[in-house]
Subunit: 329 residues, 2 copies
Amino acid sequence: MASQKATAEAKSNIAFIKYWGNRNNALRIPLNDNLSMNLDHAFTTTTVAFDAQINADQIVIGENEAQGAARDRVIAHLDRVRAIAKIETRARVQSQNNFPMGAGIASSASAFAALSLAATRAAGLELSERDLSMLARLGSGSACRSIPGGFVEWIAGHGGNASYAYSLAAPAHWDLRDVIAIVSAEEKKVGSSDGHSIAHTSPFLLTRQNNLPARFHRVRHAIRARDLALLGPAIEEDAVELHLIAMTSRPPIFYWSPGMVRVIDAARAWRADGLAVYFTLDAGPNVHLICESKDADQVASRAREIADVQQVIVNAPGDAARLIEAHLF
Amino acid sequence: MASQKATAEAKSNIAFIKYWGNRNNALRIPLNDNLSMNLDHAFTTTTVAFDAQINADQIVIGENEAQGAARDRVIAHLDRVRAIAKIETRARVQSQNNFPMGAGIASSASAFAALSLAATRAAGLELSERDLSMLARLGSGSACRSIPGGFVEWIAGHGGNASYAYSLAAPAHWDLRDVIAIVSAEEKKVGSSDGHSIAHTSPFLLTRQNNLPARFHRVRHAIRARDLALLGPAIEEDAVELHLIAMTSRPPIFYWSPGMVRVIDAARAWRADGLAVYFTLDAGPNVHLICESKDADQVASRAREIADVQQVIVNAPGDAARLIEAHLF
């Protein structure tokens, strides 16, 4: 193998039933089945070039050479790909998000999904969607959901080879929108991985786990039936629960921001006024406003009027991760 | 009885272990033992004059004649006093808070404590502290904690005559301060009584009830030992739990405000910097910053620098409800 290069793009995703807490931290096997929608306007584009001329991986994220833990995490993922491909060649990696990092948009999800696809193709591998989602999962749990397209279910499974994601419905199935109200572009103080690893210290986790099967089926049914009035309250409940598990973990993690509270209050007031919009949250400070396409302009323009909102990104359901370019010599 | 008049003052209180949810809504018997500190700078002064010349109760709160539910609630309380005193005389009631109403300072606590003391004395009754606390409880649950002085325990009890408050320690026992950061003087949208009555709809309530006995004993021990490092984390946990029970009740109640989140984040940052301060919350938008007297100026001046903070009230442990004046003819 002389030089092999591939570029892939993967969408970020927003969970309707959250992934929070692992059954197995090392293998990132989640406590519960979870479910998301890919976001067509929030994505990562990653190029991986294996190059026999270099003797260390070179990782550039955005404009900057990656350092420390972020660099180690990418190298560990390249090592997984090298182990499957039975190569030792080092790689040049260039990764670019089209949205601010650490802003509650799951950047590690799209980043590790794009990296998994680009690196395996550059290494001459063609993994099935299922295997690719499991590889992505090892880099960042929710990255497995950014491999298939549209509305995606991640089956928790009971072992490393049974925990994967698949598409419940294609993007065209439902003209849903995620209007992301970005209230802070600062990087979050506590990463999701740390949150997952202490979720079990919350005395409320067991009750959440007991709540989930019924809610999961409600959300899945709502998606199949395209029923926003059924989906909305369930995703709000689940978003609040993620935060309460974080806030009652030891030590507690507060992902809330003043702007988040303001946007949630506004969304609830708009809904009381007849606008069909529901909020969800990630492990970050921003608010995802879920509505149908017919109401998206209205939701976006109202969100832009809120003083704390710095930017609004309107997302339709996004495609599966895809290969943009590959050069195999 | 011609004309009988009494004026009483009662302090508000801040709970360290919260009262949230009733075993019996009508009798306001709480789900759990709870514990508070009276606030010396947040109080209600109430004058009750029974007057044979009038044929309907006249209730003035602040500058205004009380209307609707607020008026009915005071009249129902006067009826309780009349039933004990075996009189039917109507009363003129004038009640005045020295702090903004509905701002997360428990105005109904100090109001019904002052009303209970003034009305019973005006009616010629001298109830024991225990009986007075039980009477106040029927008007507003947490009012029973504003009858005794200093650090107060409300024993949940299992019947209407076994649910009362008593003083764990006098005000002078510990030079603690509650620096209230008022971020909104608006009346809260959902009253505490409504919150109590739907607390049982939260799937997390049982876990909270299971958490409480250990935390209660930790807080009681911390007060006895004057140990802020032990008290602080326990009261923060309990404050967060009150809000999470409210947010997971059906329908959910969001007492959070943007300013509250900002003050909490600031307090946690100050503590990380070495300032011994801990937050607690009520069913309202403000933050109570608990520290020792030596740090109170520092905490108050930092709180005043936060843009959302409209007013800061520094409270030492407050006295028991007290009679100011009585005219019995």
